[in-house]
């Protein structure tokens, strides 16, 4: 195996969490996520020579992963709409596990309701990226990023309240 590929796999192994999170935000079931994971890995490998020249690995991973996912969503108009979240970790007790899973599902549902570009912005915000980094990844101005984050946060809070109320009613 050549050295570039070895280096790339080292980085990919370390940063693959980013791909899983982007997948979680953009795709609602495991089959679509698996498909997109493969596409992201391939596109990252294709863009890898550019990484050597510049910027932080994390930002580059987010950029390629988000762009690939948005392009894939555009291609696949037949994506299935069944919410699925990964199984919770097994180091917590059952009740807490269920609670966590429900809250996670609620948050994911609210994020899925956002438009595709706001999904990227809120993901980067939740991942503790600075406004400068979010602006760099999306190509928007810093001010615009701030406005959008506030709007998306309010939107999520409103949605999660609606979902909670809906849950109580059922």
């Amino acid at each position: 195996m050549n050295r570039d590929k070895e280096e790339f796999l080292d980085i990919l192994e370390r940063y693959q969490g980013i791909l899983h999170k982007v997948n979680l935000v953009y795709f609602r079931n495991s089959a679509d996520r698996e498909d997109n994971f493969q596409e992201m890995v391939y596109q990252l490998y294709r863009s890898y020579p550019e990484l050597k020249k510049k910027e932080s690995i994390g930002s580059w991973f987010y950029k390629v992963a988000i762009n690939t996912s948005i392009t894939k969503l555009k291609k696949d108009s037949q994506l299935k709409y069944k919410e699925e979240i990964p199984e919770p970790a097994f180091d917590t007790d059952m009740e807490k596990k269920m609670e966590e899973a429900e809250s996670s599902l609620l948050l994911l549902k609210a994020i899925h309701e956002l438009n595709d570009t706001n999904k990227a912005i809120i993901l980067l915000y939740l991942e503790e990226k600075s406004y400068d980094e979010i602006a760099e990844i999306t190509g928007l101005s810093k001010n615009n990023v701030g406005v959008r984050i506030n709007r998306a946060k309010k939107n999520i809070e409103r949605k999660t309240k609606i979902f909670e109320r809906w849950k109580e009613m059922n």
Partner: protein, 204 residues
């Protein structure tokens, strides 16, 4: 839900997906690269085989009929247009496959919108519409003249051949335009989707 809770909750949500092993990552990369290459080779192979067949036919038949100057001109134009179409198609395919995913999202969308708009509205579109009947007529004339055993001039002045040519065009052209239209609609759909995303990203 308190605002700070969002980030906390996200930590619980986002970190649950199990990590993929290095071997599995390598397998994914290799199989994806292989399937992408196979898809490219298949498109390249089909386009290449069709074009090569036309060019071979044109060269061989033109050599057999080199005394018929009109037939040689027909064959030469047909050969040149076939090569030009193949090169143009492969060039477009290459440009499409070179999409830079490492650009900021806004620039990526702008670039894609510009590229697709140009191919749908500019001279590319006019040429692709015009070239279909031209290629079709030249190919039909080439086949018709060669197998009829008559000269090019005799064929175009014979009522029977002109009727056959018109009948061929009536059947072949709608099919060709249908296929071309399917590609066009696919690109229009892509363009609209990119425009929609761009609007979402830039609207205030």
């Amino acid at each position: 839900m308190e605002r700070d809770e969002l980030k906390e909750l996200w930590k619980n949500t986002g970190d649950k997906t199990p990590e993929v092993s290095r071997n599995k990552l390598e397998q994914i990369l290799e199989s994806k690269a292989k399937s992408t290459m196979n898809r490219f080779l298949m498109v390249f192979g089909i386009a290449g085989i069709i074009s090569l067949s036309v060019i071979t036919f044109v060269i061989i038949t033109a050599l057999y009929r080199k005394e018929d100057i009109l037939y040689v001109i027909n064959s030469t134009v047909l050969g040149i247009l076939t090569i030009a179409s193949l090169v143009s198609a492969l060039w477009s395919l290459r440009r499409l496959s070179e999409t830079k995913y490492s650009l900021p999202l806004k620039q990526l969308l702008e670039k894609n919108i510009k590229m697709i708009s140009r191919s749908l509205n500019g001279w590319h579109r006019a040429v692709s519409i015009l070239i279909i009947p031209v290629l079709f007529i030249l190919l039909m004339m080439s086949i018709n003249v060669y197998f009829s055993g008559m000269s090019y001039l005799d064929v175009i002045s014979s009522g029977e051949s002109v009727t056959a040519l018109i009948a061929g065009l009536l059947v072949g052209l709608p099919i060709s335009y249908y296929v071309e239209n399917q590609f066009y609609r696919y690109h229009v759909k892509n363009l609209n989707e990119f425009k929609r995303l761009y609007k979402h990203l830039t609207e205030h």
